[in-house]
Symmetry: C2
């Protein structure tokens, strides 16, 4: 039976992440994971005239590289599941159009890496496709323009703010491979009424808590059964809230928990305050840091939980809160 | 075998549209389909203070009504597939959050009604859920604010422009029912280099052509095997282009073709120029007009092809073209 518990799916014919690629900007290249990324851009324009086109170039390059690594050709990829943070997902449209592969456009804010992997895995496991691509991106400059202030304004950032990762991660999901997607827990929108759009960690932590809690319930597992529980971009502020919220539900993930937003930058040297964020943050950290460890068996099983803050400048300016969403993906090493 | 042809899926355990609901604004209520809609708002604010919150209210009402009609409770709906046109899909976030059902957020511009139905059907057919909800919305005023000019500016609209439908359509997809989703053809991004954002019919027609052509190829069917081939919101301008493009590929759908954007308004009496558009256009027309005819068997099989124009004000202002996308969904009457 595929359905498990209240909101999860167990994939018995578990699909594999056959190949992955990460393409990042200069700041990410200078960070602690710098040596692990496939491509580090020479500058953050990636040869384009606009920040949005630069983000599209990131997606195109990551997708091309992932498909290349998989050994398949683009004609062998049946569907793409992709999205980004920009209004009307234009980074994805213009980044992936020329592949001429049918596209399922997604919007899950920074949880999109999880959403795309879930749907990719569900599609392959059901036999609807043999190989599909899941991809997502973010770009510091296009995100600042979309959500905050013009870069030229050089605004002060509060310590709770995160730094949007310039990067794209792409994943080819197919049938055979050493890293399997064995289960998924699609998340609900969770709204604690947080209204500070410069504190997205606090806005997203309740959603991460909800998804992790229900995931463990649904699968009847304890947190110790995961080598790592990896959130997307809660940052230092959100991490503390998540750990506290889970403790209130009698779950302690202190030992297993890692957050991609914390791993990707050196907070003190890189002035990134609470950490990294953006769709690209969890995608490139999964591709470059966690997947190789799952590939070798150094990690046996992780729960990957990208987190998204569901806001726009319009909703924020109209006084709406910032609800969160988080999607859970179980990744396991198999021989 | 679920995979059929180059890009389609045949759903052998075909899921059903168990129930549907349509909630629209005053202008749609005054149009030719007015009597068929479930709810017509008294004014287009739907009791809210902002246009965006009004659009969220539309979604909430349509979803509540569809679930109610289905005879299930909201707890019985395992997942929601939803999206809208606004940046960061805020109509969906704030419209559907309180259902507390895991959400797959989608962005396919005005093709989202098709994308949500495809994924809903794929999910139920694979056994990942017994009942799911697919829903989408658009609102004239929130869309004008998002994509064009402030309403107060009272700009002149070219004759090629369409009028964004104020409406939300919601569908409960389950296992048993008289209207089955027997196949899907996810579409590719098709870019003919159209740069006129006030002529979205022309921008989307090539994508509709591509999806209809490949759909017929994949399933080995002639257009005559469909009682209707129903595009989303090409309008009068896009319809002519679609028919011409298909004729160039030796396919004539003149007799079968209908366009939701043409059906929903009375062009001469309602000053809607090329027709209706928006995610809500195809969703409410399917729910109110086509589904009842499929239910009774007056229509035996239709191909529903919502069409989307992939642009934002940023991509438009940066000189990017307006690519299109269209997704095909086969709906059949069964006894």
């Amino acid at each position: 039976m595929a359905q498990i518990g209240l909101q999860s799916i167990q994939l018995e014919q578990a699909p594999a992440i056959v190949a992955a690629a990460s393409v990042v900007g200069t700041k990410e290249g200078e960070g602690p994971l710098g040596k692990l990324f496939d491509v580090i851009g020479e500058d953050d324009k990636f040869g384009e005239d606009t920040w949005e086109a630069a983000e599209s170039a990131l997606q195109k390059e990551a997708a091309t590289l992932a498909i290349g690594k998989s050994g398949w050709k683009k004609e062998d990829i049946r569907y793409i599941f992709g999205g980004d943070l920009l209004g009307q997902s234009i980074a994805t449209t213009f980044g992936l159009a020329q592949f001429q592969i049918p596209l399922f456009g997604l919007y899950g804010a920074c949880s999109t890496a999880g959403e795309s992997l879930m749907l990719a895995a569900m599609t392959v496991a059901a036999g609807y496709a043999d190989q599909v691509l899941a991809g997502t991106s973010s770009h510091f400059a296009s995100a600042e323009k979309q959500f905050r202030f013009p870069l030229e304004y050089a605004n002060q950032r509060p310590l709770s703010a995160t730094w949007t990762v310039t990067g794209s991660g792409a994943f080819v999901v197919g049938k055979e491979g050493k890293v399997r997607i064995t289960g998924v827990t699609p998340g609900r929108v969770v709204d604690y009424g947080i209204k500070d759009s410069q504190n997205m960690g606090a806005a997203m932590a309740p959603a991460a808590c909800d998804t992790i809690f229900h995931h463990l319930e649904d699968f009847g597992r304890r947190s110790e059964e995961y080598d790592r529980i990896v959130t997307g971009d809660l940052g230092y502020v959100g991490k503390e809230i998540l750990l506290q919220l889970l403790r209130e539900r009698k779950i302690d993930i202190q030992k297993q928990h890692m957050d991609c937003g914390i791993e990707i930058y050196d907070r003190s040297a890189q002035d990134t305050h609470s950490g990294g964020s953006g769709c690209g943050c969890s995608a490139v950290t999964l591709a470059a840091y966690f997947l190789p460890k799952l590939e070798t068996g150094e990690l046996k099983r992780i729960l990957f939980v990208p987190t998204g803050a569901l806001l726009s400048t319009v909703s924020f300016n109209e006084g709406q809160p910032v609800p969160g969403i988080a999607h859970g993906v179980v990744l396991e090493h198999v021989e």
